[in-house]
Symmetry: C2
DNA sequence: CCGGATCCGCCTAGATACTG
DNA sequence: CAGTATCTAGGCGGATCCGG
């Protein structure tokens, strides 16, 4: 279960390097929505309203802002089609698939964490009780 | 590189389940500091000021608040020693080692992401330019 | 209905200073 | 050293509006 990142003898440089690397990662993925938007787009391009429905509680304003940041950072591509009415879709770039492992680990951990909290009667610490 | 979470045919239920699981994870690990504090404690118990030095830019108020939340969520244990002056240390609980895989993936991704940004001349999107 | 933009306002992260 | 007090700026969200 443990990786070589954890439970090894003290090592200041390696620890500092880890902190910097994780800082970089968290900086790019900041906020509570970016990763969730990416997950929503994993099974193909979606329209603005579809993403909003997937995430349920995000407001259009926040979604708009997050999508712009994701586009700037090269995770998402916005495509406009000249249909009538105009259609806009968002889809993942190839680079965003580099996040696959992180998402998978977060998903696995989230599942076991929910189980852990329920078993120890601490379900109040969950994101939602559904 | 890809896990089975990504690049598979559309599957609404699985996608929704992923979103909920990742929501749970992000909810427990919210903010930009919790994971970094845990990394800082990986190589053994540390005192308040030591953690602050590791993280460099965190203010004592935020560190105090984050440590309290980490304690409530069962990731960190606070220990007080009746020395003069009083000494306080924080250390990881066994449960926090369940985060090992997430940390490792974040660390690896952070490293490659920094490299990616430097190579594509987008270093302005990095957490710090050092 | 779709893809947003705008106004309003809370809450909290963060800076700075201070205390036992 | 281990935090707390005070103040401020900005992230984030609710509600509403608007052109197509």
């Amino acid at each position: 279960m443990l990786t070589d990142t954890i439970n090894r003898p003290p090592n200041k440089e390696a620890c500092g390097a880890s902190i910097n690397a994780i800082k970089d990662a968290l900086y790019a993925l900041n906020g509570k929505w970016k990763l969730l938007i990416i997950v929503s787009l994993v099974d193909g391009p979606k329209r603005f309203k579809e993403i909003q429905r997937d995430l349920e509680t995000i407001t259009p304003k926040i979604l708009s802002k997050e999508l712009k940041e994701l586009e700037l950072n090269g995770f998402v591509e916005r495509k406009v089609f000249n249909t009538t009415p105009v259609t806009v879709t968002y889809e993942l770039t190839p680079y965003s698939s580099s996040l696959g492992n992180i998402m998978n680990e977060l998903r696995l951990w989230g599942i076991q964490h929910r189980k852990h909290l329920v078993e120890t009667s601490k379900a109040q610490y969950l994101a939602s009780t559904t």
